[in-house]
Amino acid sequence: MPLSETDSEVSARIEFEQSQRSEGWKLLRGLLRDQRRNLVVGGIIGITWASFKVAIPQITKFAINDGIEKNGPLLRWAVIIACLGVVTGVLSGLRRYVAFRESRWAETLLRERLFGHVLGLNIGYHDKAQTGQLMSRASSDLMQIQAFIVMIPITLSNVIQIFAVATILFITDPVLAIVAMLPLPFVNISARRFSNRIHPISVAVQAEQAQLANVVEETVSGVRVVKGFGAEQVQFKKLEKEANDIFGEAMKAAKIRSNFLPAIDVLPALGAVGVLGVGGHRVLSGQLSIGDLVAFNVYLTLLVWPLRNIGMIVALGQRAAAALVRIHEVLSTISDIKDPEVHQTFATATSSTTQLGAVKFDHVQFGYDPTQPVLTNFNLEILAGESIAIVGATGSGKSTVARLLLRFYDTNNGHVFIDGVDIRKIKLSELRQQIGVVFEDTVLFNDTVTNNISFAEPDAAQEDLERAAKLAGAHDFILQLPNGYDTIIGERGFSLSGGQRQRIAIARAIISDPRVLILDDATSAVDPSKEGEIRDAMRTVMSGRTTIVIAHRPGTIALAQRVVFIDDSTVAAIGKHEELVSTNVRYREVLANMEQSKTAKNIQAVK
């Protein structure tokens, strides 16, 4: 926080934080509204349980006074107490069950809401968001909230229990009640303080553990370097430092525990000492029965756990509030890219001769940061069925063209049309169904080959699937996988080569037979000797379909009918590859650069 913050800024900030917090609590209330009935039931169970729990020592007292001291009906007393045991047992189980079930249910629903919301947010948001942070929203923040919700019904019965016990004690003997309960508020205060103090230390311990994990991770991954230079000692020193740091933080935590936990344990015992001393004298002077004295001791133990729990829930509530604010922040983010209020639909083919998929960029201006445009006055018309290659230097905005067409971003100025319709007037899902895309970095899901290919069309028939795979040149190697089309691939599944991954991505792009195909140079991540296979697949799927190839490698350019050369954030030239080579100096430079980056030297050497 800047030191120069003025008073008005401070109050504005506090006001903002308060409003955030109240939004967070509103979110929680909204969540729990649907589960209100079950929570109320849980509360009633808890209160009933608490009253029975409180009644038992009272009955025990009667039993001792009447049954044992006055030779009353022992068996009847014993049976009564046993029956009470059954009731409290059942109720205590149910209380836990309802509390946990409801809290888990709230957590489950909130996680779904969060996930669905995040998936729908525009790509501009995801560019800035960190996966780790979003993950911790959906895991550890939700955990904090769950831990708080579970305490709600339990706290309710705890409060009732405390009141009931206190009332009984005061009715039995007010003086003794004060003596007995004097140390108890400190149990509550200590529990709350403990919870607050230990939390930052446990976070610190975790942070230190993460640092140690980093050292281990890099040492194991870089074992060639470590072994190659005999750097074992250097890495060991780093690890020793981290291990010592963990030890230091853990001992801090131990210190806090030793400061609080034994005190929390011992405080109620002080009340018991008071009961024996003061109470004993009151029995001697005839103001109290022995049974009451025993009951007093039992009641004291009944107060310990509720008081501790209430101390804990205050701390839990503070953490849950912070988590709720963070989650609310995500949920209240609105996507920049939305469906139009009134939407048009694409024309469908009227006769077999009409080719669909004409694309037009009309005076488009766009920058990820609007003050720094990547594309200005960008005009481009692609005929239906035509294939074009987009060429430009690194960072020239080649891939941006594709992203605008998909409406990952909206233009700052100008319009994009597909088959004469402004893409902002089409429903997002309809627009994107008409575009097939292969990204530069192939992303496959941890799922079967079938599900990966049919991703765009989950209900696709097996024959459509195989047709797409064959077109993409993937069918043959898929059949050779351990389980064919049912083989699980992706990060945790069967590992495919770069070229195989690309061909599956190509099959995925064409399965729904899109009007426009975008191939963000699929060869760039592939072993040079495998480039040919990918290009063959690309050539096949491109024929007769509007295709935009974003070329990062010179070899890919030849696949397209026309080349669009982007330079200086606009279309610098359009034409056939050979024409541009012979007429445009800048084009030759850019090509040469691409070439160089893939060891042009070698080629010359061979010639």
Binding site: S221, L239, E595, K598
Partner: protein, 596 residues
Amino acid sequence: MWHAGGVSDEDRLTRAQARTIVGRVFKMAAPFRKTIYLAFGCVIVTTSTTLSAPVIVRHGIDAGIRAKNTDALNTSVVIYLIVVSLTYIFGRLLFVFVNKTGESFLRVLRLAVFKQMQRQSMAFYDRNKAGVLVARMTADIESMSELVQFGLLQFLSAALMLIFAVLVLLVLSWQLTIVAFLVMPILVLASIKFQRDSNKAYLIVRERVGANLSALQEGITTVRVIQAYAQEDEVNRKFQISNRSLFAAHEKSVRVSTWYFALIEFSGVFASALMIGIGGWFVHRGTVTLGTVVAFVLLLSSLFDPVQQLSQLYNTVQSAGAALNKLFSILDATPEVDEHHSAIDLPTTGELKVSNLCFTYAGADNPALNRVSISVGIGEKLALVGPTGAGKSTLAKLMARLYDPQTGTVEFGGVNLKMATMYSLRNRIVVVPQEGFLFNGSIRDNLRIARADATDTEIESAIAAIGATEHFAQFSDGLDTQVRERGSRLSAGERQLVALARAALVDPAVLILDEATSNLDPGTEAEVEHALERLMTGRTVIVVAHRLSTVQRADKIAVIADAQIAELGTHSELLALNGHYAQLANAWAQSHSITS
């Protein structure tokens, strides 16, 4: 509820394993034996004081109140107060001692396991996946920290509490002790069943939490693909399935604990009922006093709580045992490549000579190298080429003794590498891996990986030696620039420069290079080439080559095919042979000719 545990069936230890583990833990904990004894002393004090409280209350009631003896009552109160204070003081000390012992043990364990991992040769790292080794050092050790923080302490005091409670009860009245034990069988059986069921339920929860997190992460990281194909609804639907099955697992695990906690609560009250009924009858008959019955009612929880705690700890102890078992197996692994006890320093320079080398990777059927012999003279440059998996990288690794051959020798200046000191070996022969692997820290720190004692001047001259001084001077923090995790702050080319500077810092006689297959950013590519050129000058070089340009610069080319040297000679000699090499050169040329 406590869920530190969770042991899958294959991780469960046998009795013999458990015994060895306990023995080894005690041996490792030997340095802090004093603290352990102190902790033990504290437990004895706190347990006795906690248990003596009801006895004191009984004395106060029987000797003081019922006998109408004020002095006896006052004495009881004073003793009670002293006992409570002792509980507090020793309770505090206990926390400190137990935590200190436990955390010290974990620290020693971390250092020992890491040190042992570092001693292992490359073969060990081939066998064990990186993720598993990281898990050993993190999750497995951390899984014990809960035990260390609470478990150990609870275990000690619960066990002692149980023993003491039984003793006290027996002293008070053996008849009532029998009554109290009537409930025990229910409690023990219920606890055992609960442990088994909750462990099972917990393992399912853990598995589904993992699956749920993966689904979340996949959704977030692949959001571009999902949106591009307008499949948000479908992905949501799938996530919902995973999410609901996680809920079902949670619900199941709560249900398991529901009846258990109900039973526990019931048995506590039921025991008091028995105490009133049967104990009251004993009072009527004059077998026991009323005070004794009251003391028993109060002591019942001291008897039941420990049983419950011990059974809940069972899983935690089990999973700690499983983790220790895995860690000890790392500690027991003997390094395959180790310094010979009578090792000598390698000469400063000499010929690198490979004779009759045979090597098979552990678990492989076919040898990776089969009777390979070759020698590389001082200052000579040898390129190794050949198809993937033919053994060229293996040969390079054996030349630096990252592995030991099964038969045959690698000699430098007439000394067998197996007989060389590790220090001199790493100083004479340096391997520069394919990709510049950087560690978190500054550029300077990353150079010191190669020589921990290098001065700043030495580091700067190493950078100068590869001609990269200017490049790094551009950075605002110069050589102190933090490269971040895996060197992500630097470009691939810059990382490679740092890796080469490392080698320059060592100034070895022999340089073993594994050439990168992928391309660098055009900007630094030339600089890296240049740095490599300077580094190679005047040194013996062995390069695993993937590029024609590199091969052409070599004095000698060895084509490795089928674990043997198939062809050996200069570029033009081998082209003329029209064999493996000619084919390879042709393929290289073709893959780049499409564009021109």
